[in-house]
Amino acid sequence: MTRILLSSPHAHGKSSTSKVMQQVILACLPGIAALTYFFGLGVLLNILLACSSTLIAEAAVLKLRKRNLAPLQDYSAILTGILLGICLPASAPWWIPISGALFAMLAAKHLFGGLGQNPFNPAMAAYAFLLISFPVPMTLWPMVATADQLSWFNSLQGLDAQTGATALDAWRNKGPQMASEFWRATQSLSPLKPLHPAMLQASTYIALAWLIGGIYLMVKRIINWQLPLTFLATLLVYSAFLWGIDSSHYAPPWLHFAAGSAVFSAFFILTDPVSGATSVKGRIIFAIGAGLLVISIRTWGSYPDGVAFSVLLMNFAAPALDYFTRPRVYGHAKAQSGMGSGGKK
């Protein structure tokens, strides 16, 4: 009887790429539920459009590249679609998620060779593309539903619905106003108030929902603690530092934490392994860099939130980080770093 010859190891653990992706998608559910609750069904519509577009685009590219269609089952395209859909304003017109998804799949992923080859986070590349190309629909968020108005039923009507500024946007646009004046204004009954308190409340709940999903991923060991925790810590420490210098002009740390996409990005965007740094030390530096950039862009940049640009910039740095943060290998007195000796010893 002839037997099969195989290289060791002959046993394999139970993990698989598709299972990893499935877990991440599962962990997205609380956040998606919170988003939908506050901003309406437009969120789900965005996700649905983005997902179907990424899947169709991936299938088309694989066909064009004469590749096996098996990668469609690894859930990575769906995950990209979900992550992109989550980032988009709930009231965005239908072509926004579709064009974003196509950009993510075609330009950010498959032009570089498909899964595992992309130097940039596809969802963030697509988000940056949309934000630069279509700034108006990309920054208009619908007004959150408050208890007295079940507006999320109406939100399907899209742009006709009432829109409101997000907390970070409002803060950025407060101009030379003092922090105390800004907060007093948000409490006023004027319809022209800069920030509806319900908006701030909603984003806090949403951040907590993302935190639940993120903790689930850490407990399941799908993601490592280094990236999200270092990122959030950097965010808090740096914003606290600025706030300590001048609390009347710099946003308080809790605003940076609760408003905007900080928590979501920490657990779901930064943790994209393909485009990030790969060594443990490299990941920590990656997260610190992203955290510093996010606060800097939010404070001095021309966009209210800066996660997409921060992540893309750190993606650029990832290969260099990997070169300079290699761990000390067993039996070596020191860690090797840099471009190395090119194998010459």
């Binding site: 002839t2 037997r3 190891p9 002959h10 290699r326 067993y330 039996g331 090119g342 194998g343 010893k345």
Partner: protein, 588 residues
């Protein structure tokens, strides 16, 4: 006596399903005496000491290595040598090597070797001699000759002797069961090694998934002289704690420097199986003719641990233990580091500690390799703290030198990275391939460097010779000029002398000188002709060698040297001739 729970740890590691109960609950059995054994001459320096038709007894020496590089081979059954021929060798390559085949006479009469039950009163030299004679090798899987290892260690200062009983590979329970059933003998083996090496500490590393073995050891140790010296170190179960480097790290906190051996930091590791065999060799006078083999997997009807005579065909052993279903794989060793064989037509050799026949449900065949998503699971699992994802990236893209730069050669091929990889990439296979390519590149680089050195040396020599020749030529020209001047002067002098006496003297001198010169000249001309022929012949041979594809660079080099010698001869002959020629001119 102390039992310590080790709290130190090594980087990474994994917890694959152990599946040890399959074989550990069945106890130890002795496999039936084989009708025929195949004993491969594993090392090419092993020379058979028997011929076909010879009758041998169990334990009789049948092959040895005069230089002591390889472990001796003994007949594992009594009977007749029926063949000495190439047979499949139990090795990942599956290649055939010369083997001694013995057909049993079913008597199992033992050859008497001298035993040393009172080894404490024997000299070290005597003990080492027995170890060398008994053909002991490392039974943990590496198969390195024990005599060489122990003798080497004796030259160095061994501070810590480590007994490896970790047995971290899933499925395998041979060491566990050996300790449970032969604890006393094992301790005696350790004591012999202690006596030979005189280490400061003796540490026995065992994973905490073998409580029966730990109790057996503790019980036996109570009444043993080793009680004061041996420390039983219980390790948390985590693969690969039994890897030599990891075990040293766990037990001593030291790391073996890259590219060095444990003896370089004063540590020596031995497997429990080897130490038991050491006891048998010295106390019982029994050379290495059998070993304990775990036969396991869900495709086996009666899994368990079997004492198997070396050379027993795997076929026969499997027939004895029974196979339930057709297993697609036969794994020699454990599921993490074992290798597969394409059929059952291989013998059990000294390094085989486990036969694993898994069903496909039990150990599924590898799935389709997917792209690496750099998730970093492998990095967390790597006990050498490498970056397996980077090693893979460079190995798969054939950037072997960068892979080496990422310390590829510190990889111990434990397979932890591939086990955790969600993309099911056969990482170890990539690393092995890259290592092989790098070794090949290194060999070629050494060869190229040697060729370059030879070429440069030759050029330098030829240049030197040309310079010497030039100097000689100049000297000769000067000599000729001097002689011509002298001749002229003499002629002028003669012209001034009386004619008669001049004619007479010239005549006399000319006749005697001319006869002598003519003879010498002829000799020189013959020598020159012979030298010319030699040069042509050598050049012709070189031409033949250069067109011959089988010619080695050494042959061509030798031929070049010969040409140079012939040319030298020719030059000498010419020089002598040139020296003689002016003389001749004067006489004519």
């Amino acid at each position: 006596m102390t039992t310590t729970w080790i709290k130190r740890s090594f980087h990474g590691g994994i917890h694959p399903p152990e599946n040890k109960h399959l074989s550990s609950l069945a106890g130890v059995k002795t496999a039936a005496l084989p009708k025929e054994v195949i004993l491969p001459l594993a090392n090419s320096t092993l020379q058979p000491l028997v011929e076909v038709g010879d009758k041998v007894k169990t334990g009789q020496l049948i092959a040895n290595c005069s230089k002591g590089f390889a472990a001796n081979l003994h007949a594992s059954i009594s009977g007749e040598i029926t063949a000495i021929e190439a047979r499949p060798f139990t090795h990942p390559s599956g290649l055939s090597v010369p083997a001694i085949v013995i057909t049993s006479d079913e008597q199992d009469t033992h050859f008497e070797h001298s035993a040393y039950p009172l080894w404490r009163e024997t000299t070290d030299e005597q003990l080492l001699e027995v170890i060398q004679q008994a053909g002991l090798v490392g039974l943990g899987g590496a198969g390195f000759p024990s005599a060489i290892k122990i003798q080497g260690a004796k030259q160095q200062d061994i501070k810590t002797l480590i007994i490896n009983a970790a047995e971290c590979e899933p499925y395998i329970t041979a060491d566990d069961l050996l300790i449970q059933t032969q604890a006393k003998e094992l301790l005696e083996g350790i004591a012999i090694l202690q006596r030979l090496l005189k280490p400061e500490a003796i540490l026995l590393g065992i994973e905490d998934n073998k409580p029966e073995a730990i109790i057996a050891l503790e019980t036996a140790l109570k009444e043993h002289p080793l009680a004061a010296d041996l420390e039983i170190c219980v390790l948390p179960t985590r693969y690969p704690s039994g890897g030599e480097k990891q075990l040293i790290q766990l037990l001593t906190g030291q790391e073996v420097p890259s590219g060095k051996l444990p003896v370089d930091i004063g540590v020596l590791c031995h497997n429990v199986g080897t130490l038991y065999a050491l006891h048998s060799a010295i106390v019982l006078g029994q050379p290495l003719i059998q070993r304990l083999v775990t036969v396991t997997g869900q495709a086996i009807t009666q899994p368990g641990n079997y004492w198997v005579r070396l050379g027993t065909p795997i076929n026969q052993l499997l027939k004895e233990v029974g196979t339930k279903t057709t297993a697609s794989r036969l794994i020699i060793g454990g599921p993490m580091m074992g290798f597969t064989l394409n059929s059952n037509n291989y013998p059990i050799i000294k390094s085989v500690n486990c036969l694993l026949l898994p069903t496909e449900k039990e150990l599924p065949l590898p799935g389709v390799e997917q792209p690496c998503i750099r998730c970093g699971q492998c990095e967390l699992a790597c006990p050498a703290q490498l970056l397996p994802q980077q090693l893979y990236f460079y190995s798969a893209n054939q950037a072997y030198e960068q892979a080496a730069d990422q310390q590829l050669f510190d990889c111990i091929e434990c397979g932890a990275c591939a086990w955790v990889c969600p993309s099911e990439i056969p990482l170890v296979q990539y690393y092995r391939h890259a290592k092989a390519e790098l070794r090949q590149m290194q060999t070629e680089a050494i060869k190229a460097e040697q060729a370059k050195q030879r070429f440069e040396a030759r050029n330098a020599r030829l240049k030197q010779e040309a310079l010497e020749k030039e100097a000689k030529r100049k000297a000769r020209a000067e000599a000729t000029a001097r002689m011509a001047a002298a001749k002229k002067a003499a002629a002028e002098k003669e012209a001034n002398q009386p004619a008669a006496s001049k004619a007479k003297s010239t005549n006399q001198a000319a006749t005697s000188e001319a006869a002598l010169d003519n003879k010498k000249l002829k000799q020189l001309k013959t020598a020159k002709a012979a030298a010319t022929v030699a040069v042509r012949k050598a050049e012709k041979t070189l031409g033949n060698l250069e067109v011959n594809p089988d010619a080695t660079p050494e042959q061509i080099y030798d031929q070049l040297v010969m040409i140079d010698k012939a040319k030298e001869q020719l030059a000498k002959a010419e020089a002598k001739l040139a020296e003689a020629a002016p003389l001749q001119e004067t006489t004519e």
